[in-house]
Amino acid sequence: MSTPATLKDKAILEVDKLEVSYHRVVTAIQGVTLEVRRGQIVALLGNNGAGKTTTLRAISGFLGIDDARVSEGTVRFCGKDIANRFPHEVAGMGIVLVPERDKVFENLTVQENLEANSPRQSSTLSRMQEAVYAYFPLLARLRGRQAGYLSGGERQMLAIGAALMCGPELLLVDELSLGLAPIIVEELAERLRAIRDELGLSILLVEQNAHVALEIADYGYIIENGRIVMDGDRERLTGHQDIQEFYLGAGGSGRRNYRDVKQYRRSRRWYG
C-alpha cells in the first residue's frame, strides 16, 4: 500500500484490559487487550462463548436493552476513549459493526437497506452505493427484493454493503463464515480484502474458522474464556503448533492422548 509507514503503523483502535459484564453479574470478558493498526485486517479467533461477540459489541456500543456495560478498561479509537458510548455515536465516529445475527432489516428491500443508514457524509452517498453494487454485483440484481427473503450469503453481502454505506474507517465483522458454504466464504474474504485495499479502511474480523481468517488477516489474536491467550502476525500463528491443532485441524504426530482431547474440543466446536 502507498500509505506512508508512519501513518500505517498508527493504531486506529486500542482496546486495553477490557472487561464487560452482562446484567451486572455475568462477566463475559476479562482483560481483553488488542490493537488494530490503520489499514490492517486483524483476526480475533476463539471457540463458542469465548467472548468474541461481546468484544465487538463492547467496541460498537451497547443499548439499554442489552443491560451490558464496559466495567473496566478502555476502548480508544483514534486516541479518543469511546467505552460505553451509544451505538449511533460510535457509528458516527466511523466504527461500523456487521453483527453475527439479525444483520439486515428484513422488512426493507435491498436498496432500502442501503439507504436506511445515516452516513457520516451525505455527499458521498450515491458514490458509495455504486461502489457497494460494484463490489457485490449480485446485490444490484436483487435491489428490489425484500431482505427477509435473501439467502445467508446474500444477507452477508448486504450487511457488509450496508455497513460500508455508513462510511466507516474501521469495520467490525462478526463471524464472516457463519452458516455459509466454503466457496462463498472464500469469495467474501477476497472481497473484504479488496475493500480494505481500495477504500483504505481497517477491519477487525471475528472468526471461528481460522483458515479463512488467517488467509486474509495481517495479525491475529486468540481469545479463550474471555481472555486473550496468544497473538502474533499471520506467519507466527499459522506456524504455531497449538493453533494448527486447535484451529486449523492439522494433527500433530506423537502425543496421542493430548490429541484426542483436542479432537474432542474440535468436534465440539463444529457440532456444538
Binding site: 443499548l63 439499554g64 457509528a91 453483527p99 432489516f105 428484513e106 422488512n107 432500502e112 455497513a163
Partner: protein, 290 residues
C-alpha cells in the same frame, strides 16, 4: 346515499385517529393508550389558539397543529425516552397514567361544558349538498380530506424518504438501526410527534363539526378497535379496519338502535380477536412478542 356519506365520515374519523396508534406501535412496540387524550388535547389546543388568534383563523389552526406535534415530541423526551429498556408493559402503563393526567388537567382548565371552536374562529359549519339529496357538513368534508392527505402523506413518507425508511428499519430491529448510525431517540420522537399531530388534527375537526366536550375522548377509545381489527402495525390495515368499524356502526345505528353505537366497535373487535388475533393486515409474530 346519505348512509354512505355518514359511513365515510365516521371511517375517516377513526382512520385519522388510528394512524397514531399504528405509528407509535410500529416503531417502538408501545401501545399508546393515551392517544384519545392527545386527540382531545389537540382539540382544546385549537380552542385556546382560537381565543387568542381569533382574528386569524388560519393562524390559529396552524399554531394548534404545530402545538399538537410538539406535545408528542415533548412527551417522548420527558417521559417515554426513559422507558426504553423497560418492559413494554411498563411503557403502556405509563401511557395510561399520562392519559388520566391529561384528562384531569383538561377538565380542570376548560371545564366540562360544551365549547364551539368553529364559532370562535368565526367560521360557519355550512352544510354542502352532494350527489343531489345527500348532505355533508364543511367540517366533515374537511375530515375526509384531512384523512386522505394524512394517509397519502404517511405512505409516501414511509416508503420514499430517508426518515421514513429509517422509521421502518428502527421498528424492525432497533439495535441494528443504532449500530448503523440511526438516532433512535430522534426516530421515536418523530413517530410520537406525527401521532399526536394527526390525532390532534382529528380532534380539532371533530370539535369543529360537533362541538367540544370532554366526552370527545370516547371517540379515541372507539378508534382503538378499528386499529386492532386492521392489525396494529399496518397503516393500510388501520384504513380498512376503520372502514369496517365505521360501516358496522352506521348500519347498526340506522337499522337497529342508535344506542348500539358505542358497543359496535368493541363487538367487532371481539369477533376479530377470536378468529384472527393479529388483525387483518398485521404480522402474526408482532402480536406474540408483546
Amino acid at each position: 346515499m346519505q348512509t354512505l356519506i355518514n359511513i365515510l365520515v365516521l371511517a375517516s374519523i377513526y382512520a385519522l385517529i388510528s394512524c397514531g396508534y399504528v405509528l407509535i406501535y410500529r416503531v417502538s412496540r408501545v401501545l399508546n393508550l393515551a392517544h384519545g387524550e392527545f386527540m382531545m388535547l389537540g382539540a382544546y389546543g385549537l380552542l385556546a389558539t382560537a381565543s387568542s388568534f381569533g382574528a386569524h383563523p388560519f393562524a390559529a389552526v396552524g399554531v394548534a397543529s404545530v402545538m399538537a406535534l410538539l406535545v408528542g415530541v415533548a412527551i417522548y423526551f420527558v417521559l417515554m425516552r426513559h422507558m426504553t429498556g423497560e418492559s413494554v408493559l411498563a411503557a403502556v402503563l405509563c401511557t395510561i397514567a399520562v392519559g388520566i393526567l391529561l384528562r384531569g388537567l383538561i377538565t380542570l382548565t376548560w371545564g366540562a361544558q360544551q365549547h364551539y371552536p368553529m364559532e370562535q374562529l368565526g367560521w360557519v359549519n355550512s352544510s354542502i349538498s352532494v350527489f343531489g339529496d345527500a348532505r355533508i357538513s364543511a367540517a366533515s368534508l374537511g375530515l375526509i380530506i384531512a384523512t386522505a392527505v394524512c394517509y397519502s402523506g404517511l405512505f409516501l413518507f414511509l416508503r420514499y424518504t430517508r426518515w421514513g425508511i429509517q422509521m421502518r428499519a428502527a421498528g424492525q430491529n432497533p439495535l441494528l438501526a443504532a449500530q448503523r448510525g440511526i438516532r433512535l431517540n430522534g426516530i421515536y420522537a418523530l413517530a410520537w410527534g406525527l401521532a399526536t399531530f394527526t390525532g390532534g388534527i382529528a380532534g380539532m375537526l371533530i370539535a369543529c363539526d360537533s362541538g367540544l366536550q370532554t366526552t370527545i375522548v370516547t371517540i379515541g377509545l372507539k378508534a382503538f378497535p378499528a386499529t386492532l381489527v386492521g392489525g396494529l402495525d399496518s397503516l393500510l390495515g388501520a384504513l380498512v379496519g376503520s372502514l369496517i368499524i365505521g360501516t358496522a356502526e352506521v348500519l347498526l345505528i340506522n337499522y337497529v338502535d342508535p344506542l348500539l353505537s358505542d358497543v359496535a366497535p368493541f363487538f367487532i373487535l371481539l369477533v376479530m380477536l377470536i378468529f384472527r388475533p393479529w388483525g387483518l393486515f398485521g404480522t402474526r409474530e408482532e402480536i406474540d412478542r408483546v
